[in-house]
């Protein structure tokens, strides 16, 4: 397939079409963010910039966005710190109960969100805790941590032990070895895990819906609003978040690409 005529155009065309399919709803959301659609925004009426000028116009929209960003940031930080420690501990050290630990990491990934959400809700009801900001954070840390552990663990397992041994030969203390050699090499994996965590937390609806009570996140706001008609401001926020995420990552990629090129030129 690699060098045939059929393969030459088949893969780019089909793969390209799949990317178009992925982006169709985004284009739709973006176009309808300029619609002067009134309350429900179902039919195209006329072009307006009002929604973009006043993104917080719909009651509750911006509040829910701020909540989502806050939950995403806090949950990501906790899940990344705890998860990275677990990943390093699991690869580097031998101890009993390893298989139990493995099971505790893999099982949440093999459990559908409704079950995770329902069981946490059962736990919170049992403990008599009020649902809100902190119960949502607890839930998000739980499902993000599994993803962080799996991602970072692959990176730790791929590390070259000889670099640390070399550092030890040069009289670096264990602490120095970790912070100067191991940790910097893990950073790309940790950053990838944190980004994934934030994206998963930001976009989560099912688990949040079970454990949030009256606390609203952006996906929950859209879901609740859908019953009466989604305001165009939701489209504005959705489009803006998409564009910001795109820009942040692309700028990051261009910078690291340039840096690599510069390093290659020097070397």
């Amino acid at each position: 397939m690699y060098n045939t005529k059929l393969g030459k155009w088949f893969i780019p065309v089909v793969g390209g079409l799949a990317f178009v399919y992925l982006l169709v709803p985004i284009v739709y959301i973006f176009v309808f963010s300029f619609n002067d659609g009134g309350k429900s925004n179902l039919q195209w009426r006329s072009f307006t910039l009002d929604n973009w000028k006043n993104p917080c116009g719909a009651p509750g929209a911006c509040e829910s966005l701020v909540n989502s960003l806050s939950v995403g940031a806090v949950a990501t930080i906790i899940a990344t710190v705890l998860g990275t420690a677990v990943a390093i501990g699991l690869v580097r050290y031998k101890f009993r109960f390893r298989s139990t630990a493995d099971l505790l990491i893999i099982l949440p990934l093999a459990t559908p969100e409704v079950v995770l959400g329902a069981s946490l809700l059962a736990q919170f009801l049992n403990l008599g805790w009020d649902l809100g900001y902190w119960t949502v954070i607890i839930a998000h840390v739980m499902f993000c941590m599994s993803f962080v552990i799996v991602t970072v663990r692959a990176r730790v397992a791929g590390l070259d032990d000889r670099l640390e041994e070399a550092a030890a030969d040069l009289y670096a203390s264990p602490m120095q070895r970790f912070w100067k050699i191991t940790f910097p090499m893990l950073i790309p994996g940790i950053v990838a895990a944190a980004l994934l965590s934030f994206a998963m937390s930001f976009d989560d609806f099912i688990i949040t819906n079970f454990n949030s009570g009256t606390f609203s996140t952006f996906p929950k706001f859209v879901y609740v609003a859908a019953a009466r008609g989604i305001p165009a401001q939701a489209n504005v926020i959705g489009s803006a978040m998409f564009i910001i995420a795109l820009l942040v990552v692309i700028i990051g990629q261009v910078i690291s690409y340039r840096r690599k090129k510069a390093l290659a030129a020097r070397g």
Partner: protein, 311 residues
């Protein structure tokens, strides 16, 4: 190596370690325990314990003359039989929908992953942009995107109108509120989870193998079946699991794109038992049945197709 030689080596090894070294190794082991302890404690408290609580809640009893939502601890196994008899068709439908969506996502995601991982080698910038395009939609909220599909596929939308004009769809037909729409939604929403693992394993594919296969007169189809596909199996395996499991429990697609007759999925039932009917034991029993069914299916799948790279 013969047994005595092995023994001799083991003895030698013990002799070689100084007391300091043995102490250092023990300390290292303890250090590892400290690293994993907080995370594992968290998982025990907020994953394992809740599952146990859910299990006990599924056995709660409704006392005589109880108010709505009032239950007392008990051993009522009857709830399981009751919800199973009532909802097994919905459970079966959830698995069938999830299976179809998984196969469809695999067919769509494979060329995507191949394009980015193999064809765009040496073009890191374009490759990076396509990968970002895969993750960035998460930030526009999947609820909003599913809702957008509903409007795109609506009866008055141009897609349905065109399909009707060329008589692919009957005049009174529609795309939304059908099983087709729900399966499309599931396929769409879990596509990144299928694509990324396949991409990760195709990225390591050595294209010289493909050339070698061609040099040995293999047809493109043979090369694909005998070289490309086996090399990407760990990714396909992970991707299908990461798609099937959440798809089987999903209820957003069925709620937005489905109808009340022949598209309801088990997630919707669990949600409404919890929040609308206030039947905690029933919801808990259904959740548990869903979890056990998925674990059984996944174990069979791992036995049959599993690779050593995963699980």
């Amino acid at each position: 190596m013969s047994a005595p030689a092995k023994e001799a080596r083991a003895v030698e090894k013990v002799d070689l370690r100084s007391p300091e070294e043995i102490r250092a190794e023990k300390k290292k082991g303890r250090m590892g325990a400290w690293l994993i302890l907080p995370g594992m404690l968290y998982m025990a408290l907020f994953f394992a314990a809740p599952v146990v609580v859910l299990l006990s809640m599924s056995l709660f009893v409704k006392p005589e003359g109880a108010e709505l939502g009032e239950f007392v601890p008990g051993w009522n196994f009857g709830t399981y039989a009751e919800v199973w008899n009532r909802y097994w068709p919905v459970l079966l439908r959830s698995f069938v929908f999830a299976l179809i969506a998984t196969v469809a996502a695999l067919i769509i995601a494979f060329p995507m992953a191949y394009l980015v991982a193999v064809r765009l080698r040496g073009k890191p910038l374009l490759k990076g942009i396509l990968l970002v395009l895969l993750i960035a939609p998460f930030f526009s909220s999947f609820i909003l995107r599913t809702q957008a599909w509903k409007q795109i596929l609506a009866d008055e939308g141009w897609i349905v109108q065109t399909l009707k004009a060329v008589a692919i769809l009957p005049a009174d037909g529609s795309l939304t509120a059908t099983p087709f729409a729900v399966i499309c939604g599931l396929t769409y929403n879990f596509l990144p989870f299928m694509m990324l693992p396949i991409y990760a394993s195709l990225e390591r594919l050595d294209t010289r193998l493909l050339e070698a296969s061609g040099d040995l007169y293999a047809s493109p189809a043979q090369t694909f079946m005998k070289v490309t596909l086996p090399q990407s199996m760990p990714g396909v395996f992970a991707g299908t699991l990461l798609t099937f499991i959440p798809a089987a429990g999903d209820y957003v697609n069925a709620a937005i794109l489905g109808n009340n007759r022949d598209t309801s999925m088990i997630g919707q039932v669990i949600d409404s038992r919890f929040f609308k009917v206030i039947d905690y034991p029933g919801a808990a029993a259904l959740s548990f049945i869903l979890m056990v069914c998925i674990l059984i299916l996944v174990l069979i799948y791992i036995r049959r197709f599993g690779t050593k790279d995963l699980f």
